[in-house]
């Protein structure tokens, strides 16, 4: 990519950059699909390429490293995450409505995106062993905590009652419920989403300070 100056060159270069970014995103999507099926430990670059429409060499044209590829994947996953949970922050008129909406959304994403969620937990755990993804993982974790907190505090507002739990604990508790439900669901327990739904609603209610 020559960096010659000039109006035409710039327009062209930008278009090429867009194409470049598009292909990166496309390859990352293939990589995420592979990772979510095999897990981090058993995913190789050749396998990723085979799950795409390209050969294995192209990965090193668009990504310097395996680390850079997976880091890019993690960041792309985060974008998905945010949209998913922003979909959850429904426009709820009452506290009960919000509880229902949130519980249903949790159960829904458990059912539909189970393999992606197990990948998220896999990568989060990898970050405990290797430095590489740690920063990005922590960033995602914090944004998840914030999304949970938005729901919890909004719920308390609707209920006209202060929250009795700090943001970090609230996130940890919901995450615990979700992770256990995921474990059960991926083990063939089809009642897991429904159970999660009721657990989530109860927990949300319990976060309110009882007068």
């Amino acid at each position: 990519m020559t960096q010659v100056v000039g109006k035409n060159q710039e327009r062209i270069s930008r278009r090429q950059v867009d194409k470049f970014a598009e292909r990166r995103a496309q390859l990352a999507t293939s990589a995420l699909r592979t990772l979510s099926e095999l897990g981090y430990a058993r995913t190789s670059l050749r396998e990723i390429a085979q799950n795409s429409e390209f050969s294995h060499g192209v990965l090193h044209y668009y990504f310097r490293d395996k680390v850079e590829l997976i880091t890019y994947c993690v960041r792309q996953y985060k974008a998905e995450c945010v949209t998913r949970y922003d979909r959850i922050v429904v426009t709820a008129g009452s506290a009960e409505e919000l509880r229902d909406g949130f519980g249903a959304a949790m159960a829904g994403t458990l059912r539909e995106d189970a393999t992606m969620h197990r990948l998220w937990y896999d990568l989060r755990n990898q970050s405990l062993f290797e430095e590489s993804f740690r920063a990005d993982v922590l960033e995602i974790d914090q944004s998840l905590e914030q999304m949970i907190w938005r729901i919890v505090s909004h719920h308390a507002e609707l209920a006209g009652s202060p929250v009795a739990v700090p943001p970090a604990a609230a996130y940890a508790l919901f995450d615990g419920l979700f992770q256990q439900a995921l474990l059960r669901f991926l083990n063939g327990d089809d009642t897991a989403p429904a159970n999660l739904q009721t657990s989530v609603k109860q927990l949300l209610q319990r976060f309110l300070t009882h007068s």
Copy 2:
């Protein structure tokens, strides 16, 4: 190992079996140490052997597979687990005493056994991708749930109040708190154990039905 019958032979054979089992346990301990430092994805048999006082070939003398080795490790880890949490079920005279003891024990094992805990979460996640360890992992998970439930119900008994949460949810919630604290602790947050301690105490108290 010849299986000749006779009193002497039997005594000898048993002794040999014991030695065999002892060495298996010894190798599994080395393996667990390596796994807890590198994680499942980056642990090789040669690395395990190098962290022991034997050469890499010996692993196939005592274990058929890599899978059999790691399965054995998981089971040995479970034994450690049980003793650890049984140590936690302190003889507490009051509900408050139990809360303090449990909170301190959680904070303590977070500080001391952090790498082992991250290994546990790693292996539990692996079981979501490959069938091999799934049965053993689920067994451990259930026994952890039971240990948590023993504490929760004992605490309610001491407080003279029924429990407001089913066993599975209680375990999931404590596990969520612990996992987040582990994440923070391994990222250098030295306040994580203390924070976990107070969170745990508050959660335990909140499990009681408010009259």
